[in-house]
Structure formats: structure tokens, C-alpha cells
């Protein structure tokens, strides 16, 4: 029996992100008060008191903030993918996003590498924004 990978429990703070991904767009939140971008939680910004927040499309370009090569998978659903990379990406606009880095050269990756978004369709309902290295 195929073991399914986890799907996000989509809520009002993530719906636009996941919906936009289906249309090959990367959208995150933006505070008109502090002019800062963020996705979901406000901790990396100074927007705690900001109520003027909207969704904006962003470039999808950024750098690797940190990463890990996973050898012990997050459950059986990810076993066939090992070793795979999970990274925290710092977007040009400032926000951080966690996703996978898609590369054939898993040993040759460093913090600070430039990356750009690619959209990996899982099925008609679900697409994950992932990243690839920009040479």
C-alpha cells in the first residue's frame, strides 16, 4: 500500500500561498505599515502591531539560509526520497520559507547559494513551491 505524504492543514494564513502555487505563483504576506514580508508567523518581523497586511506575489529568488541533508526520513512516506534536502530559504524580499532544494548534486550545496522557486505539482489539488540552485 502506498503511504501518502502529509498534506497541510490549510487555514486563512496559508490558503493564498498554497492556492497561488497551483498557478505557479509565489505569494506571501506584506505589511503596509512596516514594509516587511513574511509567511504565516510574524516573529521575524516587527509587524506585531501591524493590521494592514496584504498578500503579494514575490520574485521567488533567494538564498539558502540553512539546510540539512536528511538521511533518516520523516516517516515511511519520505523513505524513497532519501537523501533529500530541506532548507530554510531567505527570499530577496526578506521572508524565510522552509521547503526542499531540488538538485542532482546533493553534496555540492552551501549556505548562501542562490536559489529560485520551481513549482512541483503533486496532483490537481496540491502543488508545492520548491527551490533549485541558480548557477
Amino acid at each position: 500500500m502506498e503511504i501518502k505524504k502529509p498534506r497541510p492543514t490549510i487555514d486563512i494564513d496559508s490558503k493564498t500561498y498554497w492556492d497561488a502555487a497551483k498557478n505557479k505563483k509565489l505569494m506571501i504576506q506584506y505589511s503596509l505599515d512596516t514594509k516587511e514580508y513574511f509567511l504565516y508567523s510574524k516573529q521575524l518581523t516587527n509587524t506585531a502591531d501591524s493590521k494592514n497586511v496584504e498578500w503579494r506575489e514575490v520574485s521567488g529568488k533567494g538564498k539558502i539560509y540553512s539546510y540539512t541533508v536528511v538521511h533518516a526520513p520523516a516517516g515511511p512516506a519520505f523513505k524513497d526520497d532519501t537523501p533529500y534536502i530541506v532548507a530554510s530559504i531567505e527570499l530577496e524580499e526578506g521572508a524565510r520559507i522552509i521547503s526542499n532544494i531540488i538538485t542532482q548534486d546533493i553534496e555540492n550545496i552551501s549556505i548562501g547559494d542562490s536559489v529560485k522557486v520551481v513549482f512541483e505539482k503533486q496532483d490537481d489539488e496540491f502543488t508545492i513551491p520548491k527551490f533549485e540552485i541558480v548557477k
Partner: protein
């Protein structure tokens, strides 16, 4: 100052081979055993308890775990005046002691029992991929980040990139901690470990390997806090609570402000040191939550035992091992003694025992001041507690 709160009893649950509780135990029997042991040590009875603090990963699923209700019922504690069930991960029990201090000091209650119990090894309940993709962690769970190890791996990679720490740095911590565990009869892993063994252990989530990760065991513990006035008539010498601090910043590792600096530990320890009127050089024994080797490295730097980035030099040449000049995690830590899921209470238990001078082969020479530090979640919460066997 006769209300001054102090620790008067501690206990940890005896584990058999590889960190298991003997068959037939429940989380409740584990905690009952620990409560009775700690009470006996102090010369107290359960009927003396008028405040209770408990947290864990056990309980009746559904409407909420409500652990304080079940434990008060099961142990037969009559009408506690103060109840604490905060859960901020493995750092929780230091917060329970901090809050018990405040409650006793304010006269809200007199004698508090802090309890923890876990059967996570026997129940095989710990896996890397069981967390739902919910709230802020939905992005990392969908990406297959193994939790919690993958989160700590991201911090370790960032620290190495920024400061030039290496896998050897982390191996120093794993090896020194194991050396302490060889002198703790209740430790799950007592075979000596070499730097080479650690370097060659299996990769889990780079740069972390097996030897960088805490154990998965059963276990439990208890800590009893009461007033100095009451402590005068008890069997143990009081351990004074000199200072404490707490702070938190995130739930998903992606929102840790700087993954190479555990700033919340800087905040919590600063508050604790100021309250205690002590500084790092006054500390004789340091008990840092070692969920992973990187946790120790980040915490040493953040508390100020060395500057940011100097941890790699600080731990070099087994400085924190038995016989070294910095006594760290003398019970063998979560890396080699036990790690039932929320290890924080064991930092307090070992510190109290060292300050009482009852640690046998691993006993330090007349320690006076101890620093305990808890880290919960994925470097999410920090709690610091400074203890002393001297009242002033």
C-alpha cells in the same frame, strides 16, 4: 525570609536495560514512585503537598490532557491550593520550579511537588514523522523535515557556517557526556565512546549523526520545594533557588530569529544571574539540556560561558569531561543517561544531588552553585535556574 523557597527532595525513576521501565508500569506508577522517593528523602508525606506541577506527553487524548487532575486524583492529594500545568517542551520543569518559587514566596502554598513520567520507549511512541502539518510547521512537515532532529540540524549547519564549528566540535560534547554516564549506574548508555566512534556514527540529518542525538528512553522524576522554615525540620539540607529566568521565541524552527545564536537563553540566563547576584564564573556545575550536541554548544555561548563562536574552542580536548575544568552534565545527560522526551527535570535532580554531595563516583569536589538550563521544543523555549547550597 523564612518563606524563602528551597528544594528539599528529588528522585529519578530506576531504569533497566537500555532505558526501559520494568513491565507493567504506567506513567502514573512511575510518578507515584518518584513522588514517594523524593518525599521520603525529605521526610515529608503526600499529605504535606498543597501545590502540584506536572507536564508530560501522556494523558487521555481528546478533550485535553489535564494531567494535574489525573495525578491529584490518583495520588489522593487533598485540595491543592496551587496548580501548574504549563508545557513549553523539555524546558518545562524549570519553569515549574520558577513558578513554584513565586507561589511559595507569595504565600499561595507551602510545599510543591513537581512531577514527570514517561513510557515513550516502551510504548514505541517516538518517531520522526508523526507530526501533523499544522499551523506554522505545515511548510516543513510537507517538506519532510524529520522532527525534532531536522530542526536542530538546520541550527547546527548555520552555526558551522557562521562560526566554523565542526562535526568534531559536536563529537567532543557527545564523548565527554558519555564519560560522565559511565559513572551513573542509572544511565542507559555506559560503554565508553571515542571521538572516532562519534564521527563514524550513522548520519541522521546533516550535520547531525546518531551520536549527536539524545536517547529515547522511559523515565520520570520528582522535585519537592518548600519554605526555608519548613525545610529546617527536614532530613535534607535545603538547596536554595537563587535565580531564574524564562523566555521563548518560536514553534517552527523557521522562525528562530538567528539559528546560530540561542538568544532566548541569553535573555533567560541574564535575568537569572541578575536575580542571583552571581555570574558565570561563580558556577561550579552546569547542567544544560542536551537534546542534541548542538543544543549544548549554542547554550554555552548564549549564556556567556564563552563568546558567540568560541564554543568550538571551549569544549576542545574533553574540557567538559570528568577531570576537565568545566563540569558539564555530570549525570550523562539526555545524550547518554536518559531522555524520556522532556528531560529538563533531570538537570534539577542532578544539580541538587551534586550540591548535596551524594553522587558517588561522579561527585564533584564541594560544589556550591549550580546552573540548570532547559531548552524546549526546537530551540523554542529557554529556562534558567540557579541553585546553591548556601543561603546567601
Amino acid at each position: 525570609m523564612d518563606k524563602k523557597p528551597c528544594i528539599v527532595g528529588v528522585s529519578d525513576f530506576p531504569l533497566s536495560e537500555r532505558g526501559r521501565a520494568s513491565e507493567g508500569n504506567s506513567e502514573l506508577t512511575i510518578q507515584k514512585y518518584c513522588a514517594e522517593e523524593a518525599l521520603d528523602q525529605a521526610g515529608l508525606k503526600l499529605s504535606d503537598i498543597d501545590g502540584i506541577a506536572v507536564a508530560g506527553m501522556w494523558g487521555v487524548p481528546g478533550p485535553g490532557l489535564m494531567q494535574p487532575n489525573l495525578l491529584v486524583e490518583y495520588l489522593g492529594i487533598k485540595y491543592p491550593k496551587w496548580i501548574e500545568g504549563t508545557n513549553i517542551g523539555g524546558s518545562t520543569f524549570l519553569v515549574h520550579v520558577n513558578h513554584a518559587f513565586q507561589a511559595i514566596n507569595a504565600g499561595l502554598c507551602e510545599t510543591v511537588l513537581v512531577l514527570y513520567g514517561s513510557l515513550q520507549k516502551s510504548n514505541m511512541s517516538r518517531v520522526l514523522g508523526d507530526r501533523p502539518a499544522l499551523y506554522s510547521n505545515q511548510f516543513e512537515v510537507v517538506s519532510g523535515l524529520p522532527l525534532p532532529v531536522g530542526a536542530y540540524a538546520l541550527a547546527a549547519q548555520k552555526h558551522m557556517s557562521t562560526f566554523g564549528s565542526t562535526r568534531e566540535t559536536l563529537a567532543e560534547i557527545a564523548v565527554s557526556t558519555r564519560s560522565w554516564a559511565t559513572m551513573n549506574e542509572n544511565a542507559a548508555f555506559r560503554e565508553p565512546l571515542s571521538i572516532e566512534d562519534a564521527m563514524q556514527s550513522k548520519p541522521i540529518s546533516s550535520p547531525l549523526h546518531r551520536s549527536d542525538c539524545c536517547l529515547v528512553t522511559d523515565g520520570g522524576g520528582a522535585v519537592i520545594i518548600t519554605t526555608e522554615a519548613k525545610a529546617k525540620n527536614l532530613k535534607t539540607k535545603p538547596i536554595y533557588i537563587k535565580g531564574f529566568g524564562e523566555c521563548n521565541s518560536h514553534s517552527s524552527i523557521n522562525y528562530m530569529p538567528n539559528m546560530d545564536k540561542l538568544e532566548i537563553a541569553t535573555h533567560s540566563s541574564k535575568i537569572a544571574f541578575e536575580q542571583a547576584k552571581l555570574n558565570t564564573t561563580d558556577i561550579d556545575i552546569t547542567m544544560l539540556y542536551d537534546s542534541f550536541t548542538i543544543t549544548v554548544l549554542l547554550t554555552l555561548e548564549a549564556i556567556g560561558f564563552c563568546n558567540f563562536g568560541e564554543g568550538k574552542d571551549f569544549v576542545r580536548n574533553q574540557r567538559t569531561a570528568p577531570g576537565g575544568d568545566f563540569a558539564l552534565n555530570t549525570n550523562g545527560g539526555g545524550l547518554s543517561y536518559c531522555h524520556p522526551g522532556m528531560y529538563g527535570i533531570f538537570t534539577i535532580i542532578e544539580a541538587a544531588r551534586q550540591l548535596w554531595g551524594v553522587c558517588g563516583k561522579r561527585q564533584l569536589e564541594k560544589p556550591v552553585n549550580a546552573l540548570c538550563h532547559g531548552t524546549g521544543g526546537v530551540l523554542s523555549s529557554s529556562t534558567t535556574l540557579i541553585l546553591s547550597n548556601e543561603s546567601n
